[in-house]
Symmetry: C2
Subunit: 237 residues, 2 copies
DNA sequence: AACTTGTGTTAGAAACTCTAACAAGAGTAA
DNA sequence: TTACTCTTGTTAGAGTTTCTAACACAAGTT
């Protein structure tokens, strides 16, 4: 029989430890997360926490997993709340939710998108949450009018890779054009956001929010770009 | 009188220490850089190196500065080598040089664009190199046809901030439209590249190079995007 | 009541950063 | 040459880490 009381206390201890770790993360960054210091703040000695986490890396991996789930929940909620709105507004809603999440907790954002621990392999659980985040984004991109592509003869093309990627996540019905828009769009948002949360715009005197929104708007056009050739450069036509 | 011989030895010691630090960075990431370990590999005891660096943070800041200068040199060389080519090809040349630099030394790339040390303020020297990098990019973007804007009445607009930023760098003659293209373009390249060097595309089975090039091509269109309204979404016209 | 399991303790190894005190060499000046 | 200063190395040590091992004790099970 499973001891439910012990299991519950054990879970609460882990939650409490991670809560303090999140504080350390927010205040001092990843390097400021210390198993020893967490234990002290919980009123126990250092080694006690090793009954709950195999090591510091294990704790960090838990934080990464939790953060991905939190991010996925956040953007999913925003997408759900925008139900019924016009497609462009739903994209904007996703964009704002994503940015708010990141700007509100810069170090946690970089915990997800910064350099991973050496040898890190994201577990299925974590990958699932990352997928949920991306799916939420894809769901607000309009699908109509996009050619439903399947596995192409040439697997080295981006389209083929995108379809294979979607297939592996059980989303084989999403057209490659939408997948491409989603993936490129995500990299664009991350491009601005990651520079913002690391403070790179600080010495430049530029409001990252404006730049971010400009990029969000660019997503609303990224499809039509693809249609035209890409040899033109600059100059109002 | 200045003792030139001592000064030279001192400089060589610092260079050697940073060389080993770069190896540690490449192999184990930032966390793997250890003053003690560097000293041992140089055949001296740990504290000896503190005659050359005020502390570990000081060493890291030197690495950041060197990396920025190296990156600036690299993209400047690529831009210079593309002299005379068509503007789109020069943009591509910059893009490839930037990506090669980052992909070739992922941890060093993240040393520049990852979370900075707490309280870090980039010194002038470092800012200069960052500016050189951006200027190299701006120099391959075509300027003709762009309206030469100066300080606007409304300073909260992105254009006004861009002009102020360029002014502070002594590049007040660059039109705001080009500044915007440059800044947005840089964030796009960084968006893909930073996800690549942190291994985020690994589990996705997608070739980041293809995605990166798609974004490079998007830069060649970013201006014309601005001209049209930004309310359209998806769907081949 | 006896046994197993879980969870805390202390002790300690092996790292790390960084400071202090000291020793010795290199360069300068009387 | 002698004396002084400056630079650069050493060792010792404080105060951190992470993490393992050995032990103590309580809680749950049989």
């Amino acid at each position: 029989m499973v001891n439910v009381r012990r299991e519950r206390f054990r879970e609460e201890t882990k939650v409490e430890a991670k809560r303090i770790a999140l504080e350390q993360l927010a205040e001092q960054g990843i390097a400021g997360i210390s198993v020893n210091a967490i234990a002290k703040r919980m009123g126990v000695t250092g080694p006690a926490l090793y009954r709950y986490f195999k090591g510091r890396d294990d704790l960090l991996n838990d934080l990464v997993r939790d953060a991905w789930h939190d991010l996925a929940d956040t953007v999913e909620a925003a997408v759900a709340a925008s139900e019924g709105a016009e497609p462009p507004d739903r994209v904007r809603a996703f964009g704002e939710a994503f940015r708010s999440w990141g700007v509100g907790q810069p170090h946690r954002y970089m915990l997800l998108f910064g350099t991973p621990l050496p040898g890190y392999q994201a577990p299925d659980d974590t990958l699932m949450a990352a997928h949920r985040t991306m799916s939420a984004f894809l769901s607000v991109l309009p699908h109509e009018g996009a050619a439903p592509g399947r596995a192409t003869a040439e697997p080295s093309t981006l389209d083929a890779q995108l379809v294979a990627w979607a297939d592996s996540r059980g989303e084989g019905d999403v057209p490659p054009a939408v997948l491409l828009t989603g993936l490129r769009g995500f990299t664009r948002l991350h491009g601005v956001l990651s520079l913002e949360v690391t403070g790179q715009f600080g010495p430049m005197g530029i409001d990252p929010a404006l730049l971010y929104r400009a990029e969000v708007e660019s997503l609303l056009l990224v499809d039509s770009e693809e249609v035209r050739g890409s040899t033109r450069l600059s100059g109002p036509g």
